[in-house]
Amino acid sequence: MSQTRLKTRFDQLKAEGRSALVTFITAGDPDLATSKKLLMGMPGAGADVIELGMPFSDPMADGPAIQLGSQRALAAGMNLKNVLAMVREFRQADNDTPIVLMGYFNPIYSYGVDGFLKDAAQAGVDGFIIVDLPPEEEREFAIPAQKAGLDFIYLCTPTADDARLQLIADRASGFIYYVSITGVTGTASAVTSDVDAAVKRIRQHSDLPVAIGFGINTPDQAKTMAGLSDAAVVGSAIVKRIADNLDENGKAKAGLSEAVLSYVQELADGVRAAKA
């Protein structure tokens, strides 16, 4: 495998003996300028990998926190072109922190798969998590993305049996994202013993790094889950901090980005304390 930004980052953390903190925000939430500031500040606050949400009108796999974030972003005028522009700008300042775009297929399909992959690669995107593209639909986007040298990160869930794990492992690149709850984002907390067993099971099928997400809601949980895997993904809890710092008109209050980034710092401290 070629030395992608994701591989470089995970190799480097492995050498340091610690897991990654993966942070999620939706591009454009709560407005374009604030969102850009949050994105730019993520690496400094301790994010090792950034998941950047591409907002969608119908986020079927997301709980209330990310649904609202997506709505705020769309209301603020975010679209796929602007998401790529944000990544391009980020890359001018940071050429090391991997960025994975996360979202749903329709905006990409609407943009046109080939054109989107070309533009995303040029902007400095490293990979994709597309919630409504299971392996059964790999021809739509996963295969073309991997052919274009970008990672397609598959989700793997508690509902998968060994055959399904193998099916996913055979196709995955970048890392494997273990969805630690059966449910939508931000609605429950993962159970440590279940996750431990699941990660061990995944490792029997794949050498890729394993990240845990969907069920991590506090710095403490981030620490625990980082201890069990190669990365802890935190989304809804960060997006809730954005919502907490809006005024009654839904506009960003002064100090929003500082508040959100200091929370990211707390998460990073948790993750770094996991495997010292």
Partner: protein
């Protein structure tokens, strides 16, 4: 599709009708959807299961539904002979129950204890709550807050039947949002829950499965018209929300290319405005709710809220098989505006003593237009997909009457 001389071959093993359909769902749901498909394939040709379904359709639903010659409606149009396929006479008052009987028996076979459903007009919610009462299963129905407002009688019926009705406030609080919320619930409750989808949309195998359970409408109509007229009809007309009553009527006639087939979309305030629900006439292909199909969407691929006076047609998508038949040119899709549907509702009520559902009124309005252009020896069959008692509040409001 491999067999170019039939329109009835789809879907393929990937759940595609041409480029439409598929399984665009979250990974958590994949094992379950494959399991639904496996069970459906088992029962599809199982005489014992089919006999069970037929038994309930006959004794409980009241099938076959009549094919009624609407004499005064025909006289009014002054053209083709118009027949109504009377799905409104089914138990619960619409075609939705046909697929609910089939799916609930499948869910029971799969050992599921809890049923969830989305509903727009409330007809599918009522039908689902009904079969859940019949089989003693737990039932939760997701319904948009806007729809709850305009379909109060059905909301109360569902509650009487023992279902929990969960209001959905996200988006515009209509059918699309209810479907999102049902999918979210399903992801969280895969272990014991079956999602009983109300139309020929969603991930494979739902579009084919619902069609198979609804095609009895067309099979009966075919037999009945042969009996009453000794020949096939010249035209079929049905309204299209997700498209289940239409697929049910159309499917058995798809390869009879002398039969002209018309699906009627809801034009709301007009397809040239941004308030309509005509996804084929005014949309383009995209991916939502598990399948690729024509969708109302903006330049960025964000889904646009649909609008129709009829809650059951107020959906920005359409079943994938309709998208296929549209592109293939086998079925024509026309559209009818809110006020035209309201007028047809009143016309049918006065002329025939049949209060049609607002959804079906769209088909009636188009049938009226088309019958007028046809000759007296031609035959038109329109699907009376449901009864309109649920809509009297909406009609009163449209007529400016305070109840």
């Amino acid at each position: 599709m491999n067999t170019p001389n039939t329109f009835m071959a789809g879907p393929d093993e990937d759940g595609r009708f041409g480029i439409f359909g598929g399984r665009f769902v979250a990974e958590t749901l994949m094992p379950l959807i494959l399991d639904v498909e496996k069970h459906f394939n088992e029962v599809k040709d199982d005489p014992e299961f089919q006999a069970q379904v037929q038994g309930y359709l006959k004794q409980y639903v009241g099938r076959p539904s009549p094919l009624y010659f609407a004499e005064r409606f025909t006289e009014h149009c002054g053209g083709a002979k118009v027949y109504f396929k009377r799905e409104d006479l089914n138990h619960t008052g619409a075609h939705k129950i046909n697929s609910c009987i089939g799916q609930i028996l499948l869910a029971k076979r799969m050992g599921k204890k809890r049923i969830i459903a989305e509903t727009g007009a409330g007809q599918h919610g009522v039908a689902t709550a009904t079969v859940c009462a019949l089989f003693g299963l737990d039932c939760t129905v997701f319904m948009g807050a806007t729809d709850i407002e305009r379909q109060q009688p059905n909301v109360f019926r569902m509650k009487l039947l023992g279902a929990e009705v969960r209001p959905v406030t996200a988006g515009s609080g209509t059918l699309k949002d209810a479907m999102n919320e049902a999918l979210r619930d399903w992801v969280a409750n895969v272990h014991d829950t079956y999602y009983l989808i109300g139309t020929v949309a969603g991930p494979h195998p739902y579009p084919v499965m619902v069609r198979e359970f609804q095609k009895i409408i067309g099979e009966e109509a075919r037999e009945q018209i042969m009996e009453q007229e000794g020949r096939l009809p010249d035209m079929l007309v049905a309204c299209v929300g997700g498209g289940s009553n239409a697929m049910g009527l159309f499917y058995p006639f798809l390869d009879d290319t002398d039969v002209r087939i018309i699906g009627v979309e809801a034009a709301g305030h007009g397809v040239d405005t941004d308030e309509h629900a005509a996804s084929l006439t005014g949309g383009r292909p995209g991916v939502l709710h598990g399948n690729r199909t024509y969708l109302l969407q903006d330049d960025d691929g964000q889904i646009i809220e649909a609008h129709s006076i009829s809650a059951g047609l107020d959906y920005p998508g359409i079943g994938p098989e309709h998208s296929f038949l549209f592109d293939a040119g086998r079925v024509e899709y026309h559209s009818i505006k809110d006020d035209e549907a309201v007028a047809a509702f009143q016309l049918c009520t006065k002329l025939e003593g049949i209060i049609p559902a607002l959804e079906s009124s769209h088909a009636l309005a188009e049938a009226e237009k088309l019958a007028k252009q046809m000759s007296k020896d031609e035959i038109l069959v329109v699907n009376m997909s449901g009864r309109g008692d649920k809509d009297v509040n909406t009609i009163a409001k449209a007529m400016g009457t305070v109840l």
